[in-house]
């Protein structure tokens, strides 16, 4: 079964900082790597996703960097805001139906 290792477990940055969250995966059979954002009391919601035919994808202040040879991908949040404080999950597919989620990173952005 696919393993997805996510780090760090928690992260505190000042407003305007650039938090970086990293993920490593094992199974290279599939081509979809999403990041989900979860606010307290809510369900996870898709933030941004990448296919490994590109090395980077940017949507607003959120960027995914993808290193296919190293089987790693990371999330960068530019100009972070207190409203970005949430738990972030990376995920990788283990089959055409199944996503395996990383252990989550709790991000706190201080004002």
């Amino acid at each position: 079964q696919q393993q997805v290792k996510q780090s760090p477990q928690s992260l505190i940055v000042q407003k305007g900082g650039i938090p970086i969250i990293n993920c490593a995966y094992e199974n290279t059979a599939f081509d979809y790597f999403p990041w989900y954002q979860q606010f307290p009391g809510k369900g996870p919601a898709l933030l941004i996703a990448i296919r490994p035919d590109v090395s980077e994808k940017k949507e607003g202040r959120f960027t995914i960097s993808f290193n296919k040879s190293a089987k790693q991908f990371s999330l960068h949040i530019m100009d972070s805001q207190p409203g970005d404080s949430a738990t972030y999950f990376c995920a990788a597919p283990d089959s055409s139906y199944k996503l395996i989620f990383g252990s989550g990173t709790r991000l706190l952005v201080r004002p």
Binding site: Y32, P34, Q38, G41, K42, G43, P44, A45, L46, A49, T87, F89, P93, S95, S96, Y97, K98, L99, I100, F101, S103, G104, R106
Partner: protein
Amino acid sequence: DTAVSQTPKYLVTQMGNDKSIKCEQNLGHDTMYWYKQDSKKFLKIMFSYNNKELIINETVPNRFSPKSPDKAHLNLHINSLELGDSAVYFCASRRTSGGANEQFFGPGTRLTVL
């Protein structure tokens, strides 16, 4: 509103009881999931149905029984509840055709077993 909805939002019950959680999606998706999120926020898949057919059945105690009466509904029945069942249970759905991958999550059901 188009969404994935779950009922109830909170469920507090005694050990040994039997309870059910219901999920409905009006997104027209053909695949639905149940996830368990523990106190450390770890999100683990439990079951998945595609067009009412069970396609994922992880290592879950057989006290947990999912049922999908139709593509838009997926329920979870739990027998003989134990303290360790306390968690937040999320339902999710996805459209598998057209290469769509995004899973849409419901708001969660917080189960507390006393």
